[in-house]
Every structure is written in C-alpha cells, then in structure tokens.
C-alpha cells in the first residue's frame, strides 16, 4: 500500500483553488507477482490469426509466449474467428477464448445522501476548490485511521470472489463468491449495490449491506462481460462484450436486472467503459484494436471514433471537458488528452510501459496511471505539466481514491 499526499492549488483570474489531503491508494499487492497468482493465458483469433493473450491489469494483452514456451501459433486454426481450434495432438491446457487475470477495483461509495445539516456525513477529507485560498503544505503525517475511511472492492479473477477491503487499516473484511472469472466492478451512486462482470457470461449483483450476490444476470453464451460503467443516476449499467466479431456493449436496467439493449461497437474486443461525469457519453476502449468509440447514451448511437490505438482506460476531469486516455500503442505508453467538446487531441503525456488504469484526483490536478508491465505508477501534474514515474513493483492494477 502506498499513500501519496497530494495538493492542488491554482490561481486564475477568479482566485485560487485548492485541493488538500488526498490520498492515492495504489492498489498493488506487492508481496506476490501476478504471474504467481494469475497464470491464465488464452488464445484468441485476432484478424484471423492466433494470438496468445493474458491480462495485464485490467487489459487483455497479446503476448509472444507463455512462461513455459508452449505456445505455437501454427498449432491453432482461426478459420472460425470466434473459436480458435487447437490442431495439435499435444494440446496445452489453454482455455480457449477466455481471459483470466485480476479485475479492477472500485471504492465503496459513502452515504451520498448526506446534507449540510450533518457535516460529518461528508466524508471525503478534502478542502474543496474555492477561490482565494492560501497554498497549504502537505501534512507531515496522514491522519489516523477511523471508521469513516471507505472500503475497496476487488474482484479476484481466478478465485471467483470479490473481496471487500478496508483501506485504513488495510485488511480484507470479507470475501463474496461470484460467477467464475470476475473482471470488473462498479458501484451504484447510492452505495447500495455493486455490479461485477464475469467473463463467463454473467453480471453479478452484490448487495453491499449484506455482502452477498443477490442476483446473477446470465447474459448468454455470445456475451462475455468485461468492462462496466453505471450511469450517474444509478439506473443503468453498461457492460462491454469482450469479443470479435460480434463486439458490442449491453445496456442493463439495474432495477429490473434485465438487458434492455445490445449495441454493436466499431472497436473489437471492447474492454474499458467510462461515462462522462454527466452520463451523456460512453467512451469505449480496447487494448487489442484501433480506435476509441464514443457513444451517445440517450440514443445509444455512436458519436465518433477516435484514432487512438490500443487503449485501456479513460479518465475525465470533473467538468467532463477533457478526456485522458491511456494508450499502449508505444513503449513507453502514453496518455492522450482529448477535448470532449470537439474530440480534438490536445496533448500527449509519456508515462510508463503498458499503462492500464487512469484516475483523476479531485480538483483536477493529478492523474494517476498504473503501468502494469514495468511495475510503475505515473503521476501527471496537470498544473505543472509534469510527469513523474515511480517504481512500485509487481504489476499495479486498479486505482481507488481514499478521501
């Protein structure tokens, strides 16, 4: 666990904005490597050619070989793109067309219905961005733990469970069994419900007051749930169908627990789904293909596709006017800044190798990026226009803010 205390302040014509006391919880279990815990690989047909794949962070990634060196492309038949077929008699124990690997993290939301009559209910330890505030140095030591710190939910892909972890102190509180091969998780705005995608054709509904699955939505064999986003009003969930061809995202009515729509995507193997803060647009990334799809959620129609390759995650500023997209198309990787109004690329930051997750701090000053392959975390200071990349070891995966 790594705490980073950050500070944001800025002077504009209107005054100074300040962010204080943000803790970046880097969600990395540094005592084990992912290869030791998550040995999963699979074969997929990409462009009618067999590819060996594994999960790096939340991102499915093509690799040249497995640790044992057993993968041989010539032994695989991709005449049926959706069903790679092993041709050899000595088939290794790959699971065909199914990924494995750790999933993302999601923070359990606080009680979001609090009002100003109960200030203590506003739990984020954060001075809000306001004008005319002085610059404040970081605290020498973080505040002590108390019961108001949030929990973090973590899907364990290979164990078919979701763990609920307290963040201060850092400890597993409970484990919740879910459908096999869980991948990503999201929590409704009121903090009552968590949805978990399982690659094995299911979306799990977890009641967070009981810490148990209360419903499992079977999506059918053609849908392999992966990415997940919940609308700001908590009524709708969007789940990406990690496959190609037939790539799509499904729309789920959370209250009715039903699939209401299936929308084809341009990008193949859609993985990451991120909604703009107002929920009006759904941005879809893919680590295996070209482009980022942007959909209008009112009509579920595509607005545009961005020419950014091998993308894994998107973060928005609080206003939703800027998108920050992690791209693995180069080594090291990049974060591409896009104007969400015009969809023009504004800037590119170089980060570590294989960026997989990105998250924005409150106050819009810091972006945190996990770089899975080289075991680093990059922090982009948007005010100073600087990037600092630090080694944390292992393969950091998932980001949750504790504030």
């Amino acid at each position: 666990m790594n705490f980073q205390l950050s500070r944001a302040s800025r002077m504009m014509a209107a005054g100074i904005g300040l962010s204080l006391c943000w803790f970046v919880l880097e969600a990395c279990d540094c005592e084990e490597t992912k290869e030791e815990r998550f040995p999963g690989y699979w074969v997929a047909c990409i462009g009618n050619k067999p590819a060996l794949m594994t999960y790096v962070g939340d991102s499915a990634t093509i690799v040249s070989s497995d640790p044992a060196g057993n993968f041989n492309p010539s032994q695989w038949d991709c005449s049926n793109p959706n069903s790679p077929n092993y041709k050899g008699s000595q088939a290794p124990s790959y699971s065909s067309s199914t990924p494995s690997g750790p999933g993302g993290y999601a923070r359990v939301h606080r009680n979001a219905s609090a009002t100003g009559s109960s200030p203590s209910a506003y739990l984020p330890q954060q001075l809000r961005a306001l004008p005319f505030l002085p610059q404040i140095p970081p605290l020498a030591t973080p505040p002590p733990c108390d019961s108001s710190y949030p929990d973090v939910l973590r899907p364990i892909h290979t164990q078919a469970i979701v763990t609920r972890v307290s963040t201060c102190p850092f400890a597993v509180k409970t484990s919740i069994p879910v459908q096999t091969r869980p991948l990503q998780i999201a929590i409704t705005p009121d903090g009552s419900l968590a949805l978990v995608t399982s690659f094995d054709n299911a979306v799990n509904f977890i009641d967070l007051s009981m810490n148990k699955v209360v419903y499992t939505l079977n999506t059918g064999d053609s849908i392999n749930p992966n990415g997940l986003a919940i609308s700001p009003d908590g009524t709708t969930a969007y789940v990406s169908n990690f496959t190609a061809p037939g790539q799509s995202y499904i729309v789920i009515n959370i209250a009715n627990r039903t699939v209401t729509n299936t929308i084809p995507t341009i990008v193949q193997y859609p993985q990451g789904l991120t909604l703009t803060p107002d929920g009006s647009q759904l941005w879809i990334t893919t680590p295996l293909y070209f482009g980022v799809d942007v959909f209008d959620t009112l009509t579920n129609t595509r607005i545009t596709s961005l020419n950014i390759s091998y993308t894994t995650d998107v973060a928005f500023n609080s206003l939703g006017t800027r998108a920050y997209i992690t791209s693995q198309s180069t080594t090291p990787g990049t974060v591409v800044v896009v104007d969400t109004g015009t969809f023009q690329i504004l800037n590119t930051y170089t980060v570590g190798n294989t960026p997989t997750d990105i998250s924005m701090s409150y106050g819009d000053q810091f972006l945190v990026v996990n770089n899975s392959v080289d075991g680093t975390i990059s922090v982009i200071d948007l005010l100073q226009n600087q990037v600092k990349t630090a080694k944390v070891g292992a393969n950091p995966s998932g980001i949750a803010w504790v504030h």
């Binding site: 209107a14 100074i16 506003y122 984020p124 954060q126 005319f132 209008d296």
Partner: protein, 562 residues
C-alpha cells in the same frame, strides 16, 4: 416578410469565436460538439434550471461541418426545413420532428424548435448535404425565455428599445437611457409554443397560456404586450413600462419570469433622469471612467475567509490575504459592460450563468480587460501594522499576489497580513502612471450573524450582519456550480447603504443548480463581500483620471442548495 439581419448577426457574434475551428471539406461528417445546444439568446448551460430549450424558440447548435462555410440566413416566409443544405431533426423515441433553420453555417446553426416538439429529453441530429451528424441531447420545455443581449453573450445590456415614438425607439444603453415610467420593448425567445405553424409570419397578440412577468431592478413591471414579434418566427417581444419605483443606474438588472417559475437570463438596462447619461450608486467614479474611457487605477487589498463544512471530514476555515493592482484606459464602446465592475443598483440582484467552472478560472464573457494595462512602474509598497510588503505580481496576467493566510485545525499557521489598522500604499511611478503615496484604513470586519447551511431555493433567504465601518458597501455573492454538466451560476446582490440585512429573492435562488447527492460534484458557496468605506481613498498620481485604494473582505461559506 424579411428577417432582421440585425438580430441574427447579434446572436451569432458571441460564440463563434469560442467554437471556431478549422473547417473540413463540405463533405466531412457534421459533428455537434458536446453541450453545444442552447437558447439562442441566453446561452444558459443545460445544467442550470433555465437551461432548457422551449418549444417554439430559437436555439443555437455549435459544431463542425454543420452547414456551408459561408453562413446563410433565411430571407422570406414561408421558412423551410432546409437551409443551405442543412436540416435538423429532433428525435424522441419514435417521434421525429424537423426544426426550422434560420441561419446555417459550418460552425453554428440557429433554428426554431417546433412548437409541437416533444417535451423532455430529446436528441438533435444535423444533416448537411445528406451527411448526418451525431445525436446530441437537448432538454425541451414548454417555456424557457432568453433575452437577447447587445454583446451577444447572454449577459450585459439587453436588446431593449426605449419607446419614444413609433419611429424613434433606440436600443437602451448607457448613452440612451430610459426613464422611470417609460415604455420599453424587450426582445427574446422562448416564451412558449404557438398554435399553428412556426414557419410563417407568427400570430400577433399576447401569447396565450403563458404568464409573463418582467422585473426591473427586482421590481415587477407592468406588461403591455408579450408574444411573438410580428417580423420573426421564434422571436418574442415583451413590452413593459419601466416601473416608477425601479432603481436607477447604468446596469439595472432585467429578467423575465414565465409561468411563475421559469427565470430567464439577466440582462441590464440604463435607467435615469437623463436620456443620455447614467450614474451608479456604487463606486460612481469607477463607472464613469469605465463608460467614458478615462484612465483608472486601483490598488486593492482583500481578505477572503471561507468556512468549509460541506464535503469535508471536519469543518475548516481558510483565510487568505491578497492584493490586486491595475491601471487601464478603457475603450469607449457602444455597450460598455464588464461583469466585474457593472454593479447593479443597491437593493437589487443580478445573475449570470456560464459554461465551465467559474470558481476554477473560467471567467464570464467580458470580464477580462481588453486593453493593455498602463505601466505603473515597479511594484507598490504596502506598509501596515504587520510591517511592509512589496506588492509583487505573483500570478501571470495580473498584478496580483498572495500576502498571507491561515487555515484552521492547525493546517496552516497564520501569516495573515491585512489585519485592521492604518496602511500606506506607495507607488514609485512608471511610464504611464506617476508616483503616489496614499493612506487608508482597514476597519474591523463585520460579523455575519446567520451563515446558511441548507438552503431551500424556493424560499427567500435573509442574511444579517452587524459591525463593519461607516460607508461600507455589502454585496452578497453566491456561486452554484454543477460540475458534471460544467454549468456555473453566480449572483450578486447589493444591499442598500447602511442595511444590516438583505433578503435574496427566490427567483435568484431557484435558478441555481441543486447540490448533487455527491456534494463533491457541486460547488456551492455564498459570500458576504464588504467594500469598506474607510478604505476608499483617492490615489493622486499623474496619468490617472481616477485612482482608488480599497479593501474588500469576503466571508464565505459552503452551502447545500435544495
């Protein structure tokens, strides 16, 4: 019947500069930018309660490749559903209606939302030369009025004609001033739908089924007419009498309320006994300089104290001292307006909205100076009870800086500088402004007696205070920001001289966006801003027609808007 090119050139003027992009070929796919559908007069952001588009109103769409490179306007009735190759569809479920374009260009479309358009959330799609754009969301409402503004920004001087005679109706300005009791005609769009077609000359007469009220300086004005302008589909006229008891000033706020609840954008009009000049009761010398283009310089100091109790683990107070110095020679323009200096009259309130985050540097249109600052020489020296400080410019773009601060809970020990006492500010002279020495006093600050916590926006809110010094001017300034929709609103009310309380009317509060369930997605802060009377002293320096020192205190508190 011909459309008024005047109106449509006005409504084009403001935003094109913000959205101007290199335009691709005529065959490129049209693109509607995000959050780029507005009432064509108010430009109120969608996240503000008044941010819907009314049936039968003119709305603006911004994007790329939406129409011909050179804009085209309609010229005669009947209007069509296509203009220059551009069509606009309004879609809601299985319902599709065609909007009526009145102006089309590559970057902007102005069109009439059909009176039979479906209410609620709908989607707009533009086609240009048979290529279709993305869908963009729009909230269609029955009535949401916007008043056209002379600067084309949705704020500042309104398109309001002083009625002198049938053939003499000049547009109100600081040099064409209305008198109390005079009739005036206000232009806008969004009163509501009409019966019948929108593409022909509109019906003349008061628009039925919509209650229209006009407020001038907060005073209800008698209505003489409220309905479509005979010339122009989608355009409304409201003829009213400037109330006898409306306050006078150069920028008296004017707004329209429909059906008792829907509040328009606020524009201003000049009211006074003279037909050609106006004065304000707050800092009249500053106003005069701003209007007449004389040189002005100010050396301001400020203490801002903000109590944070929303979205934090524990309440905390942050205090900071600042200085700002500037000198300008404002240009003489037909419609002078800067929201930073265009004060409403005492006893009244004004209201602005903006797309963006005003508390994080997104400033209102017209707030940034348009002229090169006058050179005042090396930084000023300020001497007071806590010693001397050089007023260096710490931040780019303004001679402003931080003098000290304090944050409670031992987060930041006090380095405050602007404590009460006697001060001397000294300028050493530059190319344009000569040397000077001015003494002034920072008084003991007033006490805000009833800092609000949870505010019911439908009810009037009375704030009270005690103390301060004689001649102080109290302003209540409140911000309401909805971050996910990048929508900001700010109001400013000026308390009458000597008042110890002020009641903010519901029309101001209801147009602020409600605080989100997750309070970190909102920024809602009310400030009590005091311009101390004893700090106002003249700076006598060569090169300045008007020179002032002044000290402002801002006492703020985070609030929850329900």
């Amino acid at each position: 019947m011909v459309y008024s090119g005047f109106l449509f050139s006005l409504i084009r003027a403001a935003r094109i500069v913000f959205f101007c992009l290199p335009i691709g070929s005529a065959f490129a796919q049209p693109l509607i930018f995000s959050r780029s559908v507005y009432n064509a007069a108010s430009y109120t952001p969608a996240g503000i309660p008044g941010g819907g588009v009314a049936q039968g109103s003119i709305f603006s769409v911004f994007g790329a490749n939406l129409g011909p490179t050179t804009g085209v306007s309609v010229t005669a009735f009947p209007l069509g559903t296509a203009l220059g190759g551009t069509t606009i569809s309004i879609v809601q479920g299985n319902t599709t209606v065609a909007a009526i374009p009145v102006y089309a260009s590559a970057t902007q479309i102005n069109a009439i939302m059909p009176s039979n358009a479906p209410l609620g959330m709908a989607s707009i799609q533009v086609s240009y030369n048979s290529r279709k754009s993305n869908f963009a969301p729009v909230r269609i409402v029955n009535s949401s009025f916007g008043i056209f503004s002379a600067l084309g920004t949705g704020l500042g001087p309104g398109i309001i004609q002083n009625f002198i005679s049938a053939t003499n109706q000049p547009i109100n300005s600081t040099s064409a001033v209305a008198q109390n009791g005079q009739a005036a005609t206000l232009w806008g769009t969004g009163l509501g739908p009409i019966q019948g077609a929108d593409n022909v000359a509109p019906p003349v007469g008061n628009l039925p089924n919509v209650k229209v009220e006009v407020f001038v300086g907060g005073v209800s004005a008698p209505i003489l007419y409220s309905g479509r302008a005979p010339c122009c589909s989608g355009s409304d006229q409201v003829v009213f009498t400037v109330p006898a008891n409306a306050p006078t000033g150069c920028w008296v706020p004017v707004y329209v309320r429909t059906n008792g609840v829907n509040v328009s954008n606020f524009v201003t009009m000049a009211i006074g006994p003279s037909t050609s000049t106006c004065t304000t009761d707050v800092l009249p010398s500053v106003t005069s300089s701003f209007i007449n283009g004389t040189t002005i310089g100010e050396a301001l100091t400020m203490r801002a104290s903000t109590y944070h109790d929303v979205g934090v683990r524990a309440p905390v107070t942050a205090i900071a001292d600042y200085h700002v110095s500037f000198a300008f020679e404002p240009p003489v323009v037909p419609f002078p307006f800067n929201p930073a200096v265009a004060f409403p009259p005492s006893g009244s309130c004004t209201f602005y909205t903006h797309q963006g985050d005003m508390l994080n540097g997104d400033i209102l249109p017209g707030a940034a100076p348009k002229t090169i600052p006058l050179d005042m020489g090396i930084p000023f020296l300020l001497t007071g009870p806590n010693g001397s400080k050089t007023l260096t410019a710490s931040f780019t773009g303004a001679a402003s800086g931080y003098l000290g601060g304090q944050v409670s809970n031992n987060l930041l020990p006090s380095t405050l500088f602007l404590d009460p006492g006697s001060y001397t500010v000294q300028g050493f002279g530059g190319l344009n402004v000569g040397a000077f020495t001015t003494n002034y006093t920072i008084p003991t600050l007033l006490t805000w007696n009833n800092r609000p916590n949870v505010i019911d926006r439908t009810q009037p809110l009375t704030l009270t205070w005690t103390g301060g010094d004689s001649g102080q001017v109290i302003a209540i300034v409140g911000f309401g920001e909805d971050l996910p929709t990048a929508s900001s609103a700010v109001f400013a009310c000026i308390a009458p001289a000597g008042a110890l309380s002020f009641t903010i009317p519901p029309d101001i509060l209801t147009n602020l966006p409600a605080t989100r369930p997750n309070p970190l997605q909102s920024k809602d802060i009310f400030y009590l801003l005091t311009l101390s009377g004893s700090s106002l002293q003249k700076i006598n320096a060569t090169g300045l027609d008007v020179g002032l020192t002044s000290f402002y205190s801002m006492q703020g508190k985070t609030v929850v808007l329900q």
